[in-house]
Symmetry: C2
Subunit: 449 residues, 2 copies
């Protein structure tokens, strides 16, 4: 077999065999096939796509490039959630303890911030002492004991995905549906779960701006997962404005804590409850979304969800006192209100730009080795559809550097478009794809139809 012929075949739009894909992936991981051939292959895939059979083969090869966890000794139902990434998306921090408090087992492996989107690990590490790198035996033990563990990727899991993901990031080949599918599903299946709920976002702050592309990704993810008999449901949600109000690591962790305690912004709560309810349905613990949501609200109201979060923090070495008393957390050195220059209604918020501004304030990374300032970021005071008066705050910016805030001031103000007319907020939920097909979300009845 010859890798140039394999690249040519994909370039010409032909489907590759399992042997050909195996030759490429194992050759890349073992170092016999150079990066410059794999990157040309990835760009050919970007343009020519893959059949569903090819996507499934690539997923399997990437999953099996490392250890696949097995929690069969734990009798419960193991599940996880994956989001394609957005701005202000702190759902994982709420979802994991919430569904664990309802009796599901969540071996959640998350990533770090890169580019305009945040990373769950960085938000967790904003809690002093919180350890996200645990050895495999400790992961299993905590899962058994607490029902939930929140950790980062290890070298043992899906090494092929790690290599390919970095190469995609460096070669503008991230936005390819079959490559996204194989990357997400290989990692999640290596966690040893029984079911997976996906949050596929569409909008200016998401990997795909158009709903069409998001639906296509959702369909491909579900179809491929189904080939592996993994129960999967993909929610297609809107990312036209940040989720919740806080953007930036500690700011988001704090908002997640508020939500676990029964407060928090309604869009964040609604999406989290829906994703959690999908998990309960897949696990057979509730018959429909609304029944699931009732169970979950009760877990929040009773304090069980928040207690579960405290248990996680304590078990993973974090400082429980700052979770119990967020007001004790150090404040950012500098903060400034960004004020509206007109009366009106917020027509839109440039979502990706908000992510980039948060990064510029110190909350994100330009390169993997960059240090993060956990207190930096911003909190929206207005969302799309909010009425605003001239001089009223649109957002508050936080940073360890006043210069950074000054540099971001006009960008942040200009990210808000103010209109004279009334404006409806953009849809939070578009619909879902699961093994039984596709359904749209009906806002009035709060149900899939």
């Amino acid at each position: 077999m010859n890798q140039i012929e394999i690249i040519r075949k994909k370039r010409d739009g032909l489907a590759l065999t399992a042997d050909e894909l195996d030759y490429l992936i194992s050759g890349y991981v073992s170092g016999t096939i150079p990066e410059y051939q794999i990157s040309a292959f990835l760009m050919a895939v970007y343009f020519q796509g893959m059949t569903s059979a090819e996507s499934a083969i690539l997923t399997r090869l990437m999953r099996d490039s490392g250890i696949v966890l097995n929690h069969d000794t734990i009798p419960g139902f193991k599940t996880d959630k994956h989001s394609t990434g957005g701005v202000g998306d702190k759902v994982s921090l709420i979802l994991a303890p919430l569904v664990a408090s309802a009796g599901l087992y969540v071996p959640m492996i998350s990533g770090r911030a890169l580019g305009h989107t945040g990373g769950t690990l960085d938000k967790l590490e904003a809690i002093p002492g919180f350890q996200t790198q645990l050895p495999l035996d400790q992961i299993s033990k905590q899962l058994e004991d607490l029902g939930v563990v929140l950790v980062g990727q290890t070298e043992d899991l899906t090494p092929a995905d790690k290599k390919i993901y970095s190469l995609r990031d460096a070669t503008a080949t991230v936005n390819s549906i079959p490559l996204i599918t194989a990357s997400i599903l290989s990692k999640k299946m290596a966690e040893g779960i029984d079911a997976l709920v996906l949050d596929v976002k569409a909008g200016s702050g998401a990997i795909f701006e158009t709903q069409d592309k998001a639906w296509e990704l959702a369909r491909t993810l579900v179809a491929t997962a189904t080939e592996f008999k993994l129960k999967t449901s993909a929610i297609v949600s809107g990312m036209e404005q940040p989720l919740g109000n806080a953007v930036g690591n500690w700011l988001e962790t704090k908002e997640a804590i508020e939500t676990l305690q029964g407060g928090g912004p309604s869009d964040l709560l609604d999406l989290t409850l829906l994703l959690c309810a999908e998990m309960l349905c897949l696990a057979g613990m509730s018959s429909d979304i609304n029944a699931g949501i009732s169970i979950l609200r009760q877990k929040i109201d009773s304090g069980e969800a928040f207690s579960k979060f405290l248990e996680i923090v304590a078990r993973q070495g974090g400082d429980v006192s700052v979770v119990e008393h967020p007001e004790r957390y150090p404040r950012a050195k500098h903060e400034r209100q960004i004020k509206s220059e007109a009366d009106g209604v917020v027509k839109s918020i440039a979502c990706r730009e908000i992510g980039n501004i948060s990064m510029a304030l110190g909350a994100g990374r330009h390169a993997v080795e960059d240090k993060i300032d956990y207190t930096s970021g911003l909190v929206l005071q207005k969302k799309v559809g909010s009425a605003v008066k001239k001089g009223e705050a649109l957002a508050v910016a936080y940073s360890d550097s006043d210069d950074k805030i000054a540099a971001c001031h006009d960008r942040l103000r200009d990210a808000f478009v103010i209109s004279d007319n009334s404006v409806s907020p953009p849809p939070l939920i578009h619909g879902k794809v699961d093994a039984s097909g596709e359904q749209r979300w009906d806002v009035a009845s709060k149900a899939f139809v």
Copy 2:
């Protein structure tokens, strides 16, 4: 500037600026941009193409990545020919001495065999002692003294093309019209020539199988060369069967010698005369093709063309006696006739397969460092349209290994398709593109119309 953004821009089909292309190419040559990003870029160019302005910029950047020769002290007209590659194409060996004997100056820089096509340098080096690597001052001196020099690429000329060409070869991105254009024109312009004649081949043995693609390449080459004020004419010729009869290094050199002496196969002679006559027209030395061909025929008949070849061989250290007496050249250790199994007419000859068989007999390289056996190859006894009787030879195979001949026997026989019906030979010349537009070749009148 950021190379990922540049790759993304090209991936999305946008035109790049001169600064962006310069950033990529100079970054690649200097080593600050890794190969895996350039190969992803090349694949994006394969799919999205380039505007004519981008092609011209890339050509200029690649030309100026090294030394550009200047022969202004030589008062004559400097010209060269480039073929996109075919099987049995030994035109350069005849063309260079022939037009030099007519008073043109030919600083010809050629390449080596790789894959199914041969290389001029290997054919020249079949002559014992012939040196193809000369220092730049010696190239200039020989050009001034003899009017012609036949050498290989040097490290000083177009280093960017060398790096990019190897990468394209390893990543299935060779067949991209803008990349081919920049590669050919940058190298030829670095020779310091006043005019260029291109032989763009179409057919099963050529880089593009369809005439449409060959015409597109011819148009792009001429349009781009015209932006540099380089007089250029591109002949579109057929490569549905090998050119001439001999395929393999010394076998082709011998056929070139026969042609320079007034013999040789008619297709080889006709195409060579046409390309040479185009050169005379571009140089203003003849008013039309037919006038040019008359001049050139006279140079062959008078023996001046062959004398010029002898001068080149002598000056570049080659053994003149084998050129004067080809029968003294060592014969291949083994030879065998491949016989027809049916009466009929040759309907087609699998052209690329003939090139691959010649390589398998020992005449070509699988890798750059492979040794070539100069006496290996094959000589066609029948061409498309030839009548053949059962048991009559279709071709003679030559090799230093009888096993190689045995292994190729059936492949070579099967490369000939024999038909019961009469068959016309495929067209040798399709037409031409030059600064004044496109013309088709009229076989009856032997003229462009």
